[in-house]
């Protein structure tokens, strides 16, 4: 097993990787930009190295600086997390060239799959269906309009190197294409350092279903079941679950087999995700994400496996921990992503200081968080703050648990989608499992928080008059949690008993 690991990331994922590393006795090294000096991931690591100014290109995307930090701190391996350099084959190569282990797929497989155009060709060769699409060498708007007309409107412009909705645009008519093309290319260039884009048919109401796969250096590959990630905003997932309410055992097997065929054809090792669009019982290969996904915890719940542990074992040269027939699924898990953003105002990112934070703790609920009270949410990075994962025997019970968890999640100082998430979870269509990537537009368009009742407002106003002032000085970090009504009820019972005696 690797003895010392550098985590080339920040936020909740850096924290999450460190937790497993610690459990396995692996020492951890964090990296941080100047604004992250006191961040939670820095605090939790055994060691931390400063890597530069806040802009990602000068810190978390700075390959030479990160490799240098890994070498100088005596690390044997580098875990890239998700985002940033996680799917950059040049980074994987630089890590390996320095004599270190890259915890991820071989750069060659990564390069092949990281380019969505080549990945589609590979899937097609492996006998996996793909959505209609067109590629082009020069982004000449007129020519691209012709290609779009060939596919049929609406079309999706996608970044070849992309992911996470960045560098992606839906175009409904020829007139909108030039600006969309330019914007997509600029966004792709700034996010991935590669502005290549291509066109894909835009499916009207698909479901987004993906399979967790793992390969090892010995040529074996397995899948760990699917995740349904249909609830999205701005082409980014906000709620994920496993299993998908749409899959029959037969469809699960067909899609799982297809996913394994794709990664085997690519000579893949370590963790990956094969994404599909599902339309009825027809599925289309979308792309492979050559990294650990944000939503991996739902798979961890239903399989009982620690995916970061699998990653570290495979990176250390061990074979896959389990064979396909040894992987079993149990219960149902849901994840909600908590972003610093305002769902009532077009999901605009919100920056600022976390003034109050109390994460929910209840049986079957896990919170993967990268913040604490007093953390600053800067404009430089992806605004994900934390993820809440709820698991139970049935989907219904998992939803119920999640609702309680979100209801007890105290987060003040930046906007968050917690109320929207609660409204989605309690929506009858969501509860029936009727999901699509257009769920929000279809069922909760122009969402606004429920109207405030006078009795609530009166209580809030009173509390506001008693709000302690926080200066510009750092906020107190720890504190006693807000007691739940149950705890308070307990106090009162004791007091009553005392009165009686």
């Amino acid at each position: 097993m690797i003895r010392k690991l550098l985590i080339a990331n920040r936020g909740e994922i850096a924290v999450r990787v460190m937790r497993t590393a610690r459990e396995l006795g692996v020492r951890t090294v964090a990296v941080y930009s100047d604004v992250d000096r006191t961040a939670r991931h820095v605090e939790l690591a055994d060691e931390a190295v400063a890597i530069g100014p806040p802009p990602p290109t000068e810190s978390y995307l700075n390959i030479p600086r990160i490799v240098e930090a890994a070498v100088q701190s005596g690390c044997e391996a580098v875990h890239p997390g998700y985002g940033f350099l996680s799917e950059n084959p040049r980074f994987a190569e630089a890590v390996q060239a320095a004599g270190l282990i890259f915890v991820g797929p071989p750069p060659k497989a990564m390069r092949l799959l990281g380019n969505k155009i080549e990945a589609r060709a590979l899937a097609q060769k492996a006998g996996v269906p793909i959505t209609p699409g067109e590629t082009f060498d020069t982004p000449d708007a007129k020519k691209v309009v012709k290609l779009a007309e060939k596919i049929g409107w609406p079309v999706l412009i996608k970044a070849a190197a992309g992911g996470g909705g960045k560098g992606m645009r839906v175009v409904h008519a020829a007139a909108d294409l030039p600006l969309a093309l330019e914007g997509a290319m600029r966004e792709a260039g700034s996010a991935f350092g590669d502005s290549t884009v291509y066109l894909e048919k835009y499916l009207a109401r698909p479901r987004h279903v993906e399979f967790q796969v793992f390969g090892d250096a010995h040529g074996h590959a397995v899948h760990l079941g699917e995740r349904e990630c249909s609830i999205q905003r701005r082409h980014q997932k906000i709620i994920e679950e496993s299993p998908s309410p749409a899959l029959t055992p037969e469809l699960r097997q067909r899609m799982g087999d297809a996913a394994v065929r794709v990664v085997k054809a690519a000579g893949y090792a370590n963790a990956g995700t094969v994404e599909f669009l599902l339309d009825g019982d027809h599925f289309y290969f979308l792309e492979v994400n050559a990294r650990l996904q944000v939503e991996h915890p739902v798979t961890e719940f239903v399989t009982g496996e620690d995916l970061v542990e699998w990653q570290l074992r495979i990176a250390s040269g061990e074979p896959l921990p389990k064979r396909q027939e040894e992987i079993h699924f149990r219960g149902h898990a849901i994840e909600c992503r908590i972003y610093a953003e305002d769902p009532a105002h077009g999901f605009l990112p919100s920056s600022g200081r976390i003034l109050a934070l109390e994460e929910p703790h209840l049986p079957g609920v896990r919170v993967d968080s990268g913040i604490r009270e007093g953390s600053d949410v800067s404009v430089y990075y992806d605004p994900i703050l934390s993820k809440v994962i709820a698991g139970a025997a049935t989907r219904e019970a998992a939803i119920r648990k999640m609702c309680v968890a979100l209801e007890n999640y105290v987060l003040l100082g930046v906007a968050s989608p917690i109320e929207l998430l609660r409204d989605i979870l309690s929506h009858p269509e969501f509860q029936k499992g009727r999901l699509s990537t257009h769920f929000l537009e279809d069922h909760l368009p122009d969402w606004k928080p429920r109207a405030v009742e006078d009795s609530e407002l009166a209580a809030a106003l009173w509390a506001a008059t008693r709000a302690p002032r926080l200066g510009s000085q750092p906020v107190e970090v720890a504190g006693t949690a807000t007691p739940s009504p149950w705890q308070v009820l307990g106090h009162w019972k004791i007091a009553q008993r005392e009165e009686k005696s």
Binding site: L179, E187, S190, H345, A356, L461, R466, G479, P483, V488
Partner: protein, 164 residues
């Protein structure tokens, strides 16, 4: 004493009469009796006729945040509400940056005629691009900043000429 706070762009006038176990909040015509327990600074259990609810409140400068039984109230001390989102503003003459970020594109110049909802500038923050649109049709009076520059939240990026 009449107090005033701003919620969702609306000024709310209310009174608070404190008693030994809580307070009575007067809001418009109605009076709300609250029984309150305080558990450390800004941490409360508030009981009203509906039940008992956990609450947490913090104030930073002129903004007050209250968490009450799963809901968040963002309140402002009157006079400070201008920092609220541009969407609420009446100022239909200004196009403002919705959040701090980099101005990646400025698509108009002073004197240009613009249509309502026309994209006039693009701001990037947290790796996301946001198109800023004209709030109405009109003529551009001024532009502020240059592509590549940093803009603050609520900074005016483009202003439209006041119509007679």
């Amino acid at each position: 004493m009449m107090r005033e706070l701003v919620h969702n762009g609306e000024r709310i006038r209310f009174t608070v009469d404190s008693g030994p176990q809580g307070a009575t909040v007067g809001l418009g015509e109605s009076r709300h009796e609250l029984t309150v327990q305080e558990h450390g600074a800004g941490r409360f259990i508030i009981c009203n006729q509906r039940g008992s609810f956990a609450a947490r409140a913090v104030r930073e400068k002129d903004r007050i945040w209250v968490w009450l039984a799963g809901r968040v109230f963002e309140l402002a001390v009157p006079g400070a509400e201008t920092t609220d989102h541009a969407h609420h503003g009446q100022a239909a003459n200004d196009v403002r940056a919705p959040m701090p970020g980099t101005l990646v594109k400025l698509l108009v110049a002073p004197g240009d005629a613009v249509e309502k909802d026309q994209v006039v500038a693009v701001v990037e923050a947290m790796k996301m691009e946001h198109s800023l649109r004209a709030p109405r049709s009109g003529v551009v009076a001024g532009v502020f900043g240059a592509p590549g520059g940093i803009v603050d939240a609520e900074a005016v990026v483009v202003s439209l000429a006041v119509e007679e």
